[in-house]
Symmetry: C2
Subunit: 114 residues, 2 copies
Amino acid sequence: MQQPPFRFFDDIATREIAPGFFSKLVHTPNNTINFITVKAGCSVPLHQHIHRQSSFVIEGEFEMTVAGETRILTPSSFVVIEPDTIHGGTAVTDCKLIDIFDPVREDYKKLTEQ
Amino acid sequence: MQQPPFRFFDDIATREIAPGFFSKLVHTPNNTINFITVKAGCSVPLHQHIHRQSSFVIEGEFEMTVAGETRILTPSSFVVIEPDTIHGGTAVTDCKLIDIFDPVREDYKKLTEQ
């Protein structure tokens, strides 16, 4: 059933997608949008997936490694990670992040439906 | 030519997409992501397009009308507007917004390339 257009983050369960990474997941037919809060020092190890991922830092600093290159992301910068590209990262400070995936993260969708 | 993964908002020209709506546009193969700053009182009139649009308020309050229903969006709420749905809105306060479109806004892409 199609969801109503207007929605509240409080109605979305918070999921700990990786240790210390607390997510609110929004799924549309073609995208998963991941609103993340993470504490300084928490990491996602290097991994890859079929989804393109665009990552934006709303607050804080996040060290990201993509295809062997490491940079500190801040609200003035961002990264677009093409499908099947090895990437990972560490929160330098407490952060708020937004990751936009295409296609939909069916693996995350299953989590949400549990 | 494919762009590098790591990018800076300062390298993206700011476009006034609607009066008072100042945009930095990020295009991926399947999405356009629009980072908007808007002053209180500025409006986008009712319109529609083939693109699904998910709208998030990062700072401020934005009054949105979608298919005849009007709500005030804040950072605790959001809207997913299905394709071809009539919508428009007004900034109640100064706002920072993120609109995510699929598919790509080819009309905006042409603006960016000018």
